[in-house]
């Protein structure tokens, strides 16, 4: 059980603010860069999951190939109790998605960073889902 909680705030259906909060009573070392990527990609600390709210099926996909240096020791953060760090990414910049209603979750996954820096708490944290609605195109 981890004391870390991941919170989302989405503005204009695109700008996703991700906040990692230490809700516990003791400090936690985290992968503080919180760089966005994809579940199967490297050099990322968070990734998004888009699902159809009715079926639960994963929808959308990867919009970018990116090139990023590995998480460095300089980016490690010690979160004191009650403290938080945040990161922002643009959903449309990073993910393709269909029109209609979607559920967005973000996953904080420090496994690769923890493998290099054992002081990092190696536990994945999933945000609560946020329901988003994207208008369908016109009649063409």
């Amino acid at each position: 059980m981890t004391a870390l909680v991941l919170r989302l705030a989405v503005a204009e259906n695109d700008r996703v603010r991700v906040t990692l909060v230490n809700t516990g009573a003791s400090s936690v070392v985290v992968a503080g860069r919180l760089a966005i990527g994809y579940a199967d990609s490297t050099d990322r600390e968070i990734y998004a999951e888009l699902r159809d709210p009715l079926t639960g099926d994963v929808v959308g996909g990867q919009a970018r190939l990116y090139h990023r240096a590995p998480h460095s020791a300089d980016d490690l953060r010690t979160l004191l109790p009650g403290r938080e760090i945040e990161s922002v990414f643009r959903l449309d910049e990073w993910y393709t998605r269909p029109a209609g209603e979607l559920e967005l979750r973000v996953v904080y996954d420090p496994a690769a960073v923890a493998a290099r820096f054992p002081q990092v708490e190696n536990v994945a944290v999933v945000s609560d889902p946020v329901r988003l609605a994207f208008p369908r195109a016109g009649t063409g």
Binding site: R64, L65, H67, A69
Partner: protein, 479 residues
């Protein structure tokens, strides 16, 4: 909404076969209920007539005269030609797709891309999140001159320029135009066009032309041509440099940097200015712009606020090719990664370089662009697996053929050193589908050999530090 509302937005064609009976109408109504009007429109579009052979021939001839191969691939993408047909050549399938698109938009359906068709296609590129496609179409369709002094023409949603005041009655009203131009070394332009320019092809053309017409900042007073080199040395330096830099924009960037008159053409006077710059920088003074002088000029261009010109130098000097699949490569301060390429298999794409890339050592900067352009080439091949793309990009870096070698370990926190490339290369190889691992088996073997060589040639401490990675490579069982 009634079915006729869908039909009324389309131009009936006199030879279009009638919808076949009540069963078909009932089917369409069911489709409309289940999937919406757009699906109905698509279904109806399929029913349009085929172009006659003479019409097809005429459309092919007309469209081939309008667009180059890159733009044809854009056109094939946005008109829905199946990806296997994205070959950059206008043929029957492409003109049929254009004709279908024209019909669906209530235009004439002759398959020829005319101004009316362009005016419909361009706003759709923005609506579909592909404004760079609209830009490419317009640059080519209107034959806008962007080769000599334009580093990039790109979209930026809010781009605008205050262009004076207009009197509305007695009231002065500010005029903003939907574009902006920044100038880099040698008066090279970085043009951005905003959302408001995408109302039609014509408005986008006008916005771009307006930016192309903005006068570049006046050059300072011309300095006397230095005489560091003898005439024979200058001639030798000229031949050497001309053979390595073919892009006029590179010439302009360097001329601007070294204080030579900006002509866009290599000449002995420019080489004398280059030699003077070499002397000032403590380099060998020979007027030859080889890798060491290129590194010096690259670094100085970055420092002088000319990142796009600096990137152009790298692409040109190292002859980094894109197989005709690159729309544009540019510096984008919003990119948080080192670089980012549109992940759109079988489509022309953009490469964006982020600010962190400008802090890389020279070899890293070269590798960064080379890695992305490998993506561009492989996207043209239609590879759809991200891990395969990343393996190939990292493999190119590890092998460093024709590229400067990177240090084994990082020199700063954002540096992607050899060992990082090698790690990522292996991670992605293991994520690749078996078929791709088989296809690129020889590439992996070459990478593994190089990784062993580099680690084994490291210091004792490096060999210890990277023994784990070496062992992981050794443990790979090839398919």
């Amino acid at each position: 909404m009634a079915l006729r509302d869908v039909e009324s937005s389309r131009t009936p064609h006199r030879t279009r076969p009638p919808l076949a009976g009540s069963a078909r109408v009932t089917g369409l109504a069911a489709l409309q209920r289940s999937a919406g009007n757009q699906a109905v429109a698509r279904a109806l579009t399929v029913q349009r007539r085929a172009l006659t052979p003479p019409e097809t021939t005429a459309a092919i001839a007309a469209d081939r005269g309008l667009f180059d191969s890159l733009t044809v691939r854009v056109l094939q993408t946005i008109t829905g030609v199946p990806t296997a047909g994205h070959d950059g050549v206008i043929g029957p399938v492409t003109v049929r797709a254009i004709s279908d698109r024209q019909t669906a938009r209530g235009l004439g359906d002759n398959g020829i891309v005319d101004l009316a068709t362009m005016d419909r296609l361009v706003p759709e590129t923005l609506a579909n999140g592909r404004p760079e496609h609209g830009i490419q179409l317009v640059l080519d369709f209107f034959n806008l001159a962007t080769r000599a002094d334009v580093l990039t023409v790109r979209h930026s949603a809010g781009a605008s320029t205050f262009d004076g005041l207009r009197m509305v009655g007695p009231i002065p009203v500010p005029v903003f135009t939907p574009g902006a131009t920044a100038f880099e070394s040698g008066g090279l332009r970085v043009v951005t066009v905003g959302d408001a320019a995408f109302t039609s092809a014509t408005t986008l053309r006008d916005a771009i032309q307006r930016e192309l017409a903005r006068p570049a900042p006046a050059a300072g007073p011309a300095a006397a041509t230095p005489t560091r080199l003898t005439a024979a040395q200058a001639t030798t330096g000229l031949a050497f440099t001309r053979a390595r830099y073919a892009d006029e924009r590179s010439v302009r960037a360097i001329q601007g940097l070294v204080g030579a008159p900006v002509t866009g053409a290599w000449d002995v006077a420019t080489i004398q200015f280059v030699a003077e710059a070499q002397n000032t920088a403590g380099l060998a003074v020979d007027g030859k712009i080889g890798p060491i002088t290129t590194e010096n000029f690259y670094t100085r261009l970055i420092a002088a606020g000319s990142p796009n010109a600096a990137l152009r130098l790298l692409v040109d000097f190292f002859d980094l090719t894109d197989d005709g699949n690159l729309l544009t490569v540019f510096f984008d301060p919003t990119v948080t990664a080192l670089a980012s390429t549109d992940f759109r298999p079988s489509e022309p794409v953009r490469v964006r370089i982020g600010p962190n890339a400008l802090t890389l050592p020279f070899s890293g900067a070269v590798h960064n662009i080379a890695h992305e352009l490998e993506h561009v080439r492989r996207l043209r091949e239609g590879i759809t697996t991200a891990a395969t793309h990343e393996f190939l990009g990292e493999a190119l870096e590890v092998l460093s053929i024709g590229l400067p070698e990177e240090p084994l370990d990082p020199v700063n926190p954002t540096h992607d050193a050899f060992i990082d490339d090698a790690t990522r290369c292996l991670d992605n190889f293991l994520l690749m589908p078996v078929a791709d691992r088989r296809r690129f088996r020889a590439r992996f073997i070459a990478v593994r050999r190089k990784v062993f060589q580099r680690i084994d040639a490291g210091t004792a401490a490096q060999r210890v530090a990277h023994a784990g990675l070496r062992a992981r490579y050794a443990a790979v069982v090839l398919p």
